[in-house]
Structure formats: C-alpha cells, structure tokens
Amino acid sequence: MKHLLSIADLTRSDLDELLDLAASFLSVTQRETPKVPALRGRTVVSLFFEDSTRTRLSFETAAKRLSADVMVFSVATSSVKKGEGLRDTVATIAAMGIDAVVVRHAAAGAPRRITEWIDASIVNAGDGRHQHPTQALLDAFTITQHRGRDLSGMRVAIVGDVRNSRVARSDVQALSMLGAEVTLVAPPTLLPETLEGWPCSSAVDLDPLLPDLDAVMLLRIQHERDASTRFPSLREYTARYGLTEARARRLRPDALIMHPGPMNRGVEIAAAVADGPQSVIGEQVTNGVAARMAVLWKLLGAGGDVV
C-alpha cells in the first residue's frame, strides 16, 4: 500500500491491520514519552490547501510521535498565493526529497491527481466532498474500542449535511465493511440525489431511529459549500435534526455520540449533549492521532518494528 486516498481502496484485511496498528499506537501515545523511532529519517509534508485545525495538527502530531521530520506547507503564506499551480507546488516539494505528503484540498480527486505527478506516498486528509479516509479510520477505531471489531448488526446513524460530507462518504464505507448498518439521516436536500451504490440506507426522520442506535454521528452544516440554501433556517434544522437534550435522552444509555468536528453547538448538537457522558467526541480526537500514526507507519515504515 503506497497511498491512502479512499476507504474504497482498502480490503477488509487492510482495514483490520490499520485498526490493529491504531490500537498499538494508542498505547504508545499513552506512555510518559509518547514517541517511537519508527519513522526516523523520513520526511512527511503537510500540505493543506483548505482550512483545518484538528486534522492538520493531528497528522503533524502523529508524524512527530513516529520521529519523522515534518515540513508544514502553509498555503496562506506560500507561492500558491502568487499563482503557482498545484502541479508545480507538489513538484517543488517532491524535489526536496520527501517521503509522504498529507494533502487536504477543496476539490475532489486532488490527492489522486498528485499521485500521478510525484513519487511520494500521498495521504488524503480530505478532498472536497469526496473522501476523508483517516477520519473514517478513527471513527471506526473509536466505535470498535467500545464494541469490539465485529460491528455486525450494530446500528449507526450519520445525521446532517451528508451531501457535502467527505466524512459520511468515508464512514459509510468503513463502518459497513465492519458489518454495521448505517443510516443516513437528513432532509432530502442534504442527501445526495442518489444513494445508488452506497452500502447504507437513508431516512428523513431521526426520532424513530433513536432508541435502536448504537452510535449517532452528527455532521456540521457546511455553509461554505452551499448547504444553507438547501433548507429554510438553522432553527428549523435544529428542531428537526439537532441532537437536543430531549432527543439524547431517547438514546440507549450505551449509545455513543460522535462528531467529526468542528462542532456548531446549539445547531446539530446541544452543548450539554456534546459534553455529556455518552459523548466520545474527545476520544475521537485522541484516537485520530493513533489512527494517523497507523496510516503513516503502514505507508512508510512497513517492514520495521512498530514500537
């Protein structure tokens, strides 16, 4: 495995291996010195063309805990602002002699195109509405930490702006591969026009599903991608789809409440619910570092010792 571009490229055994690795690296991150020399001498570039806080920091932390050298390419202060094209930007970075590029881009497929231009391993850290595979890995990892590896018969609802969500596209593939039954819940205007080929079902009503869910994942409304023109008001959205305290009370006590972040408290999730006992949102962030360590090690360190 040279690149991680999409969950669709993974086999079940790839996924199992990455989840096993994530578990090993999670224990590393909990040590007093949370660092291993696995990728010493390797260089990982973080190349974010789109705003990000948690994913970028999570990848950089993961790389550093593996002892890789990390170069941060900040688009805001770079030659991109001077009109440089994507191909020239990545060719320049590649010419410096690097091993992996972690790419986020507002356009679907940008990481895949980069694999055709340079030799380094490419990790997709989110491309447009297409894929965010490491988010799916950390989400699957978080659920399996609580429920075991086999998610057969477990019911997971992903609620909100599915249409614009690379997280939803990736999560559906990863969770269904592990056996979970995923239901996408949103007003029809926030679902893709067709779910043909998606291994999941959909619903327009959240309330009837609540008592049976093993996990519920709330998605942010992506105003920057035209979502706000697709329903009348945030007030109406919250009334129909927000995980309010009243709705959260109808969940089973062991149901997990998840959010890929960033959260809009009071819109898709009530503040008290986000901070409540069933929320694993903080765990997701912690697990994100371990999952990304797993990916970087799998792409760059295969053959060596894990810890």
């Binding site: 497929g109 509405r129 067709t194 043909e196």
Partner: protein
C-alpha cells in the same frame, strides 16, 4: 491554372456512392468519371472521396486565448480532421457580439487551412440581457447565432431573438441547452458516479427543460432553433417529437457524447470534464439511436482547447471542454459505422452536408461532387488505424480524452478551394 486528379477512390456524397476519379481545376471540380488524367495525381486508392466536413461547433479561442488555440492552429487541426469549414464559437475575449470583432476573425480566417465561418452572439457579452446586433452581424455573413458556453436563460429574451431572426434570411439561433440555475457549481453528470465521487452534478433534466422550452418557442415564432451538443435521451426524444410535429428544429451531438460515459470522471482527470457533461450509458445509447433515425442532424466537435496548466487544476476547478477536430471522423467510423449503427453515408451526412445546410454554407460545402462544385473535399482512408497521441495533435492544446485510444479511419488528403491543405496525412502549411 492548377489542375490535379484525385484518382482511384470511391466518391460518396449526398447523391450516393460510385467509384470515380475527380478532376480539380482552378479550385473547382471540373470532371468526375473513370480514367481521368492530369499531370498531378492525388492517390485515393482504397479511400473515400467525400465533400469536406463542416464543424458547427469549434472554439478557435482567438481573440483572447491564443495560448490555447489560434485560428491558424485550430484550422490546421480542422484540415487534418477532414474539415473544410468550421463555425467559430463566440465565447472569445472579446466575444463575437460586435461587427469589429467578427470582421477581425473573418480577416484572419482568410489565411486559415479551412474556411472560418463566424458565429455571432445572441446577446451582448453573452450576458443574456439584451440582443446583440444580430442584423449587423448578419450583414457580415453570420448565420449561426449562439451564446454557446452560456444558455439564454430568459424565455422572453429567447423569444425576441427568435422573432428577430425571422427578419434575417438563413439565420438560425443555436442554444447551449443547460439551465444554469440547475447546474450551478456542477462539474459532471448528476448521477450515481457524481454521488460517489462527491462532485456536484449537472442533471440531464437541466438540458431537457431548455430543449422543451425552446421547442415551444420555435413553434410559437416559426423561427429556426438548433440545439448544440445534445447529450440526453430525454432531449433526443423531445427533438424527435418536435420534428414529427413539423417544428423547425435541428440538433447536433458531440463525439464524446456518443463514445464516453460519466464513469470516465472517476479518474478525476479533467480531460473528461465538459459541458454538457459525459452522461450515463443509456444516454449514450439514445444519442446513437438519434443519429441512426435522423433525429440528430449533425456530428459537431465542440472542439474546446485548454492550456495544460488549466487542465492540470483539480477536476472541479478545471475549465470544461475537450479537443475534437482531429478525432471526430475517426470516432464516427470506429464507434458508429464499424458496429453498424450508422451507414457510411449517414456518418458522412452528419459530418458534412447536413451541418453545411444548417450553417447556410451549402453553396460551397457539403455539395455533391460534380462539375462546378467548389473543390472542398476530403479523402478519407476508412481502414487506416492510428493511435491518438495528444502531443502529436496539431492543436496548441493537448486536452483530448482519447489519449492512447486506437481508432480506425484517417484523413489522407484535404482539399480547400482546390488547395491541397493536407497531403498524405500532413498539413502542407
């Protein structure tokens, strides 16, 4: 006096097919028959001699985007593709909405390797708000009026354009039928593939809605409407019914819409990005059937050169469009004639005499190969195979979606007003 004979080919035109030599003298067909002699011989053995092709839909990019194509390079690509005339689309910078710009294009076009026919805008600046000076453009010879690249969204303004065109003999209003409000932000066909890729779509209904509307406007006004690059089954059905009802509509299909589907976009290669987008397999079948039953009058390339740097942007950010002039005839032969969907005569009709009639240039293009006809001819070797190499194309740009594809059918010679502009597969200037 210049004189040569095109010897040993099979002549195919609107009147049928026969084995004959063609004697060309002073830019005109002088004689057609057996055993013609001239000092100068153009070999057509094993080949088809046909009226030169006519492209209703070429983006020459000049003025404004000469780094992607010029009238010279585009006309060379056209000649190599067997075309003796192309209709230059108006979305240049500045656009072809002003007599001065049209005059300039026509003037440069006199040096080109094919006849450059200027289209003219329907609306000023292609902005869809006020009529362009259609009468002034008509006086310069413009017959095809279009805002191509943009759809005339206002039904009221489209009606006015159609009514006005009735006062301009030979004029046709050509619509890029895609409802903007349904396509905003869309980069590919809306369907299962776009849903999976997370790329916003352009639904097929956006085309059919405008086609349905403009058929009603053609019926209301009695003016001719031509639909550019139709791509969906629903649109073909609408045009079929309209023609049955006697509404004065014609339409064209681009080669990519009868050869490629939206699955190609899963590569994220912007070579496959085009408006209207590559559709599903059922739509491809429907446009093929539309060509076969005559609903679709013409094959038009929508030749749309873009520089490598713009086509190296990510899919959603890259400009739409693909090259077409040098591959269209071969694709028609390989994908339509060889599988038996069209006869050779049908394919040539769609490439030559039908579009010549629509563009109002059938006095000099697409004519029966007979004494007195201007010598605008193509000699096509239907058996020759070749592999598409983007860097070997004559266009300034390289954005063909057929890189590496092996096609059957290659232009051997192209004759423009008696001049051999392509000889043995090479442009002579």
């Amino acid at each position: 006096m210049s004189e040569f004979v095109i010897r040993g080919g099979e002549v195919v035109d609107a009147s049928g097919r026969r084995t004959a030599d063609v004697l060309v003298r002073d830019g005109v067909v002088a004689e057609v028959g057996a055993g013609l002699e001239a000092a100068d011989v153009l070999d057509a053995a094993g080949a088809i001699v046909t009226p030169g092709f006519v492209d209703l839909h070429t983006h020459l990019r000049e003025p404004g985007d000469e780094d992607a194509e010029t009238i010279e390079t585009g006309s060379r690509a056209a000649a190599l593709g067997g075309y003796t005339a192309v209709v230059a689309m108006p979305n240049t910078r500045p656009p072809l909405d002003d007599p001065t710009v049209v005059r300039a294009v026509l003037a440069i076009g006199t040096e080109a390797l094919c006849e450059v026919v200027s289209s003219g805008c329907i609306t000023r600046g292609r902005a869809g708000e006020a009529l362009a000076p259609m009468g002034e453009l008509h006086a310069l010879g413009v017959r095809v009026f279009t805002d191509d690249g943009s759809c005339v969204m206002s039904a009221g303004l489209m009606r006015r354009a159609l009514e006005y065109s009735r006062g301009l003999p030979g004029a046709v209003v050509a619509q890029h039928a895609e409802d903007d409000s349904m396509c905003a932000g869309g980069s590919m066909h809306e369907g299962a593939v776009s849903s999976r890729l997370g790329i916003p779509g352009r639904p097929g209904e956006a085309e059919a809605i405008i086609v349905a509307r403009d058929i009603r406007l053609a019926a209301l006004t009695g003016a001719r409407v031509h639909f550019l690059h139709l791509s969906t089954a629903a649109s073909v059905d609408l045009v079929r019914a309209a023609k049955r009802d006697g509404v004065p509509v014609t339409c064209e299909v681009a080669p990519h819409h009868f050869t490629l589907t939206d699955e190609a976009c899963a590569t994220f290669d912007p070579a496959f990005k085009v408006h209207p987008p590559l559709r599903g397999a059922a739509d491809v079948e429907a446009v093929r059937a539309g060509l076969a039953d005559g609903t679709i009058d013409a094959i038009a390339t929508d030749h749309a050169p873009h520089t490598p740097e713009t086509k190296e942007r990510p899919f959603e950010e890259a400009p739409p469009g693909m090259l077409g002039l040098e591959t269209a005839a071969a694709l028609a032969l390989t994908e339509l004639v060889e599988p038996g969907i069209l006869t050779l005569e049908q394919a040539l009709a769609a490439l030559s005499w039908n579009p010549a009639r629509i563009a109002g240039i059938d006095d000099r293009h697409g004519r029966t190969v007979a004494p007195g006809a201007p010598a605008n001819l193509c000699v096509l070797d239907p058996a020759a195979t070749w592999t598409v190499d983007p860097m070997a194309l004559a266009s300034r740009a390289h954005n063909t979606p057929y890189a590496g594809r092996t096609l059957r059918g290659r232009v051997r010679h192209t004759v423009l007003r008696g001049e051999r502009v392509v000889l043995d597969g090479r442009a002579t200037r």
